[in-house]
C-alpha cells in the first residue's frame, strides 16, 4: 500500500496526526473498520462456501425447507449491539467533547477566520486581545475583511491571507464565517473539519500537539523517492531536503523546489534524470495545510492556506512583530 500511496510519511491509512483530540477520532475509525472486517470476512467466507457447495450439478437438489439459522439472529443482534457501543461508547463522547467544551477565554488564542472565494482570511486581535470592528462597506481587495481603521481596537490587529500562524500546546478558538458561499474549514492532519456558512459564525476549537511545530515535523516527513517513481504530480509540493549531488556537483540544492508548474517541473525531473541522479531526498515545503472541503466554485480546489505552527515563544514573537508594522497588515 505504501508504494501506491507514494512513499512519504503521509501514511497509508489516516494522515499523520498533530492535534490532541484527533487520537480519539482515529481510534474510532480504526475500531469501526476492525468491526467491519469482523462482519464482512465470515460473511464472505460463508458466501463463497454456499456458492461452491450449492452449485447446481447432476444429482443435487435444492431443499425446500429453509434452514433454521439461529446464527443469523445472533449475528444481527450482535451487529446491533456493537453499533450501539460504537455510537454510545465512542462517537457521542468524542462529539460532545468536540462541541461542548470550549476552552476558557483567558486560556485560548481566539481568532476570526473569514472565508471567501477563494481564500482564507485570518484576523488576529493582536496583543490588545480586542478585535477591531469590521464593516462590509469597507471591503476591498486590499482590505478583505473590511477592517475599520478608525476603530482603536483595530490598530494592532493582524490580517493574513492564506497564511495562518498558530501556537502549539495552547487551545485555539476559531470563529468561522464566510462572506459569500459555503466553504468548509479542513485541516486533515488535525482532524478538524467544519463548514463555514455565510450569515453564521461558528466556533471550533482544538489544541495542537506540543512538539508539532512546523520546523520539527518537516524533517520527520523526509522521504527518499527513487528517480523512476518521481512523477511531478507526486513531488510538486516537496522540496529537496538535502543537497543532491552527482559526482560532487550540486544538481539540486537543499530547499529547492521541484517546480510549481507542470511543464517546468517535468523538465526539471527530466534534467535530473539525465544528469544521473538516482534518487531524491524530499520533504514537504509545508506539511500543514488548511483546505476547503466544500465545493465553492471553479477554484475550490486551490482554496488552501499554509499553517505555520510555532512554540509559544516564537508565536508571541511573531505576534508582536507583525502587529508592530501596521503597513504589513494587508501585505500579502
Amino acid at each position: 500500500m505504501n508504494l501506491l500511496l507514494a512513499s512519504t510519511h503521509y501514511g497509508a491509512w489516516t494522515p499523520p496526526l498533530y492535534s490532541q483530540h484527533g487520537g480519539s477520532i482515529d481510534k474510532l475509525i480504526d475500531v469501526v473498520h476492525v468491526f467491519m472486517f469482523v462482519i464482512f470476512i465470515p460473511w464472505a467466507i460463508f458466501f463463497v462456501y454456499c456458492l461452491m457447495n450449492f452449485r447446481a450439478r447432476p444429482g443435487h437438489k435444492a431443499t425446500y425447507t429453509p434452514i433454521k439459522a439461529k446464527v443469523s439472529k445472533y449475528a444481527e443482534v450482535g451487529v446491533a449491539i456493537f453499533e450501539a457501543f460504537l455510537l454510545l461508547g465512542m462517537s457521542m463522547p468524542v462529539w460532545a467533547d468536540y462541541k461542548n467544551n470550549p476552552p476558557a477565554p483567558d486560556q485560548r488564542l481566539e481568532m476570526r477566520v473569514v472565508a471567501e472565494q477563494f481564500q482564507w482570511n485570518f484576523h488576529y486581535s493582536g496583543p490588545d486581545g480586542k478585535f477591531g470592528a469590521t464593516r462590509s462597506s469597507l471591503i476591498s481587495a486590499s482590505n478583505p475583511i473590511g477592517l475599520a481603521e478608525d476603530d482603536p481596537a483595530s490598530k494592532d490587529d493582524i490580517v493574513r491571507v492564506n497564511e495562518c500562524h498558530l501556537p502549539v500546546d495552547k487551545p485555539i478558538y476559531l470563529r468561522l464565517t464566510s462572506k459569500d458561499v459555503i466553504h468548509s474549514f479542513d485541516i486533515p492532519t488535525m482532524r478538524v473539519k467544519q463548514d463555514v456558512i455565510p450569515g453564521m459564525e461558528i466556533p471550533i476549537w482544538f489544541t495542537i500537539d506540543k512538539n508539532a511545530t512546523t520546523d520539527s515535523i518537516r524533517p520527520q516527513m523526509k522521504t527518499v523517492v527513487p528517480m523512476d517513481k518521481a512523477e511531478w504530480y507526486k513531488v510538486r509540493h516537496l522540496v529537496a531536503a538535502v543537497d543532491h549531488k552527482v559526482k560532487d556537483e550540486v544538481v539540486l540544492a537543499k530547499g529547492a523546489d521541484l517546480g510549481a508548474d507542470l511543464t517546468k517541473g517535468k523538465e526539471l525531473l527530466e534534467q535530473l534524470r539525465k544528469k544521473g541522479l538516482t534518487e531524491l531526498t524530499l520533504e514537504p515545503r509545508n506539511p500543514l495545510e488548511i483546505v476547503c472541503a466544500q465545493l465553492c466554485g471553479n477554484s475550490h480546489f486551490k482554496m488552501k492556506a499554509q499553517v505555520m505552527t510555532h512554540t509559544a515563544e516564537d508565536f508571541a514573537k511573531w505576534l508582536t512583530e507583525s502587529s508592530k508594522k501596521p503597513e504589513m497588515q494587508t501585505d500579502f
Binding site: G199, M200, I202, P203
Partner: protein, 107 residues
Amino acid sequence: MSHHEMSVEDVKKHVRTYIAVFVALLVFTGITVGVSMLGQNQGWTVTTAVLIALFVASIKGSLVACYFMHLISEKSMLFGILALCAFFFLVLLLIPVITVSDNVGVH
C-alpha cells in the same frame, strides 16, 4: 360506507350537511379575523395568536376534509396513508426548530 350505493335520500341528507358546514366555515372565518383584531388590540403574545389562529384553521380544515371530502366515511387504509403523510409533515415542520435550536454557531 361507500358512496357507490347511495340513494337519492342519502344525498339529500348530505346536501343539508353541506349547507350547515358552509355556514360554519363562514362563521369561523369571521371568528379568525375578529380574534386576530382583538389580539392585536390586546397585545397578545405571538404564541397565543398563533395557537388560536391555527386552532381555528384546523377546525375549518377538518370540516372541509371530513364533510366536503367525505373523509369521515372512508376506510382505514386511507387513514393509514394520511397518517403516514401527517407524520412526515410534522417531521418537515421540525426542520426550522432543529436548524435554529441545536447549532453551535450563531446566526
